[in-house]
């Protein structure tokens, strides 16, 4: 378990010291969200109604841009080969790297989402719910994304391919993330959708690393 946390710490340290990665994702998030009103017109009622959807989609796109960093750099400089031959099972390597991605990208994006809600005239009462759903939903984004990142590590045209492979997998996360926000305003409350979102995240945390490790093994042979 020591080597697991060492790997997480290393990835966090790299993300902080290399700089840029977190900032770029956040900047992309900000720009996509602020383009929306320009495209849709500045109608505040309309924006308030679709704010949660815009924030979730922009968050997915911003996270998508940073996904290829999970394995690519380590694959290129050979670190991944060393990790694969080490004592830590490749599944746990994938878990550690996905966890680091969630900590460095998922959480900052989730925390920025409500701030950007101001730009979209998001109802103040929805703020805690939005933070809650994005915090609970982003592990699925990182761990499912790791599957795509692992599959395309050696591929030509990796970036576009990654989007094509990963975005369909994000559909349930997106649907339940948004329905939790909109259900919170209704009589039923957000309970059911929120719990299913949590279930999707937990399933992704278990299944993602297994599939990612299988994909890495095929390419590292």
């Amino acid at each position: 378990m020591n080597s697991f946390w060492a790997l997480v710490r290393r990835d966090l340290r790299l993300a902080v010291r290399e700089g840029g990665a977190i900032g770029t994702a956040l900047g992309f998030f900000l720009i996509v969200v602020s383009l929306m009103p320009l495209g849709l017109g500045p109608d505040l009622n309309l924006l308030a109604r679709i704010a949660a959807g815009i924030l979730w989609i922009a968050l997915l796109l911003a996270a998508l841009l940073s996904l290829n960093r999970i394995f690519e750099a380590d694959y290129e400089d050979g670190t991944l080969d060393v990790l694969a031959t080490g004592t830590l099972p490749l599944e746990l390597v994938a878990t550690a790297k996905s966890l680091a991605h969630w900590l460095t990208t998922g959480i900052p994006l989730a925390l920025l989402a409500p701030v950007l809600g101001i730009l979209l005239n998001l109802d103040l009462a929805s703020y805690p719910i939005l933070v809650g759903t994005t915090l609970v939903g982003t592990p699925a984004v990182s761990f499912l994304g790791a599957i795509g990142a692992a599959l395309t590590v050696k591929a030509r045209r990796g970036g576009l391919l990654l989007a094509l492979v990963v975005l369909p997998l994000y559909v349930p996360t997106l649907i339940f993330g948004i329905s939790a926000v909109s259900a919170a305003a209704g009589p039923a409350g957000m309970g059911a959708a929120f719990l299913i979102l949590a279930a999707i995240s937990l399933a992704a945390v278990v299944l993602g690393p297994i599939a990612a490790a299988a994909a890495l093994r095929i390419q590292l042979q």
Binding site: I147, T152, K154, V165, P168, L169, V171, A211, I218
Partner: protein, 250 residues
């Protein structure tokens, strides 16, 4: 005693067997589809509500059924490749993907053509339509992922991993979109709610389309086996020429 799957691991035996089976499958498929088309266009009543547009159903339902069955076949083949290393499993998965994508597209297209007169719109973001659309994206992902690798065997295994991930995620997608209100009618399972005069042409068409798929699948698999043979022979020929070239002149 070897099982059939074990015997088919030998490509030569597969080519022999498929050459003998293919004309029959194709022939029966053609006969059934011709008969089914006759039934659905001339020998079945127009619906009391939908009028003549109900006849689109005879194409639409078999395509929709195949879009799912083919994904199931790809998933089983992928499992066979990753777990049992069956040499034909990858050939099967590779051959099935474009055909499955085509049937999925046809299901979407025919459904959309039917939707315009019936629902008043070509497209709605309804649960069933959305999940089939995502199934279509998954097919595209499989095809694109395979195309992105120089190394064919690595590409095959990675595509198999994605196909299996897709299997776990498909039911989730299906249930998640079911949460939206749906316009598409629920499945009738070919049972009591469909009148026999329409059920029979539908069954004939479904069977005909399924056999049509298997005929195309077998043909595509044979082509793939031949393509690999040609590739192997070319590699050998090039290797042989290189050997000759590097030999010192006498």
């Amino acid at each position: 005693m070897q099982t059939l799957t074990q015997q088919l691991a030998n490509p030569t035996r597969f080519m022999d067997l498929s050459a003998r089976v293919l004309p029959w499958v194709a022939g029966i498929a053609a006969a059934l589809i011709v008969y089914g088309l006759y039934l659905s266009f001339f020998d079945s009543p127009a619906d009391y509500q939908q009028g003549e547009t109900v006849r689109i159903m005879y194409i639409h339902v078999p395509c929709a059924w195949l879009s799912m069955m083919v994904y199931g076949l790809i998933a089983v083949s992928s499992f066979g490749l990753l777990v049992f290393r069956h040499p034909l499993a990858d050939v099967s998965a590779k051959a099935a993907a474009p055909i499955g994508a085509a049937f999925t597209f046809l299901a979407l297209l025919t459904g959309s053509l039917w939707g315009k007169p019936m629902w008043g719109t070509y497209w709605v973001w309804d649960a069933r339509l959305t999940s089939v659309l995502i199934l279509f994206f998954l097919y595209l992902g499989l095809i694109a992922l395979r195309a992105a690798f120089e190394d064919e065997s690595a590409g095959a295994k990675l595509t198999a991993v994605l196909a299996l991930v897709g299997v776990t995620i498909l039911p989730i997608i299906k249930f998640s979109v079911n949460w939206w209100n749906t316009l598409h009618q629920p499945s009738t399972d070919f049972t009591a709610t469909v009148d026999p005069s329409m059920r029979w042409p539908l069954l004939v068409m479904a069977l005909g389309f399924t056999l049509l798929f298997f005929a195309m699948h077998l043909k595509a698999m044979r082509n793939e086996v031949l393509r690999r043979r040609v590739k192997a022979m070319r590699t050998q020929a090039v290797a042989g020429r290189d050997r000759l070239a590097t030999q010192p002149a006498e």
